[in-house]
């Protein structure tokens, strides 16, 4: 059965008819001078964070190698896995926007690395994410709707360990390396960009085959603990963070304040998630680099519904909402904008 969320089904046509495609989204009014300050690029914060990220990957990976065979390897690979399979997601995301660094090639390097770690083709997912920003939570248009109505709970839970995404990614990888795109991918990847998809897939396939070959030759899963494996055993935190973004919120509404959550998180989570907890702010102004989002949050405070004080608070809302949607798919979380906020104008 074709999903209601298919990009090539009836909902895609309906969204177009309703004028929801490429719509005029609400944006708060921020003086140009202040916006220019907030958009300004700088290499320093991301160089520091990337050095910490790669340094911790190297350290935890080395300790894991040292302790391999003993229980002490478990916490080492837990750290390595989360830095790879969860922090890789936020690095992929931010670098894909090109905002973390002033120097473009640095963003590109981190983007390629994050894409490889998360098993997302850098070209397909760049275009997919472009669409997610154009048509956030517009049914039939947004390829990144994680929690559908009703939710596919088994898939969501399986993905805490990549058990849906990884097999799909591997099958897709083989298809791409053979020079094929899916029908959905073809709706948003322009023909002139497709050769990049096929080239990347062939390189990645070789890397994975070498890792698998090494595992077979040595009779140990150790090589796969470093390459590919963390997308399974270390990916749970990116799901935990990611579900807070839009799960249970309003679909087909051209105002990120009503379909997106901003959630306060501790320093460690903000490091791993690269400040994407300021998600309403990110959607409203994708030009603002991750390290300026806390300031943007302050700037927008009067216009936004209150931020959730913790991950726990977000889950206390989203879990019941998603469960409610299993019985009643029309249910969603209605956010109240504060008194004095610029009102949402229905399109």
């Amino acid at each position: 059965m074709a999903s209601r969320y298919s990009l090539v089904g009836p909902e895609a046509r309906r969204a177009e008819e309703l004028g929801l495609v490429g719509g005029q989204w609400f944006r708060s009014d921020i003086p140009r001078k202040r916006m220019k300050e907030l958009m300004r690029r700088s290499d320093q914060p991301a160089l520091r964070d990337t050095a910490i990220w790669l340094g911790l990957l190297a350290l935890s990976g080395a300790l894991g190698f040292w302790f391999w065979g003993s229980w002490l390897a478990v916490p080492c690979f837990l750290v390595y896995g989360v830095l790879y399979g969860s922090a890789g997601d936020s690095r992929w995301h931010e670098a894909g926007h090109g905002t973390p660094f002033r120097t473009r090639w640095m963003s590109n390097v981190v983007y390629q690395l994050g894409s490889f770690m998360m098993m997302r083709d850098p070209t397909v997912f760049r275009w997919g994410h472009t669409r997610h920003h154009t048509d956030t939570l517009i049914v039939g248009r947004d390829p990144e709707i994680q929690v559908m109505r009703p939710a596919r709970l088994a898939k969501l839970l399986a993905n805490l360990f990549g058990l849906y995404d990884v097999p799909v990614a591997l099958v897709t990888l083989v298809g791409h390396s053979a020079g094929r795109l899916s029908a959905e991918e073809a709706t948003f990847v322009p023909a002139t960009e497709r050769f990049r998809v096929y080239r990347t897939a062939r390189i990645w396939l070789v890397i994975y085959l070498v890792a698998i070959g090494l595992s077979v030759a040595t009779g140990s899963i150790l090589p796969l603990m470093y390459i590919g494996g963390p997308r399974i055993y270390g990916t749970f935190m990116h799901i935990v963070y990611g579900l807070t973004q839009h799960a249970g919120m309003g679909e087909n509404v051209l105002d990120h304040r009503l379909n997106t959550r901003t959630v306060h998180m501790c320093r460690i989570n903000r490091f791993l998630y690269w400040n994407m907890n300021y998600h309403v702010e990110h959607h409203m102004f994708p030009m603002v680099p991750y390290h300026r989002l806390p300031e943007l949050h302050e700037e927008l405070a009067a216009d936004l519904a209150p931020a959730y004080p913790s991950i726990w608070a977000a889950y206390r809302e989203l879990v019941p909402a998603v469960l409610h949607q299993l019985k009643d798919p029309t249910h969603y979380v209605r956010r109240e904008l504060p008194a004095g906020a610029t009102p949402f104008q229905d399109a």
Binding site: H97, G98, T130, H133, T192, P286, M287
Partner: protein, 101 residues
């Protein structure tokens, strides 16, 4: 046809403003060396006003998907923008920027 677009001082150095004439949007740029340029007002990828974007290193970045164009030549600099931006000749007279549309 030359039209008056804005005053010289309406645009900060290394920045852009949006100008509307006859229902059509244009973007007027001033480089760090006080040269003026003009392009179409909307991104070629999707209908987004470029004047809300970031001007940096001779390029304008669209505020929605961050596609980049050279504002002097209109050349698209890669995904997600693949179609060049239309540019318009500019002349300065007295304290006014004129565009040839």
């Amino acid at each position: 046809m030359w039209i008056p677009a804005c005053k010289l001082d309406d645009v900060d150095a290394d920045d852009v403003i949006g100008v509307r004439h006859d229902g059509v949007d244009y973007a007027v740029f001033r480089s760090p060396d006080d040269e003026y340029f003009a392009t179409a007002g909307h991104c070629t990828h999707e209908r987004e006003l470029l004047c809300d974007g970031l001007v940096m290193d001779g390029e304008i970045e669209c505020p929605k998907h961050l596609g980049r164009f050279s504002y002097a030549t209109g050349a698209a600099q890669g995904a997600p923008v693949l179609v060049d931006l239309r540019t318009y000749p500019v002349k300065l007279e007295d304290d006014t920027v004129y565009l040839d549309i």
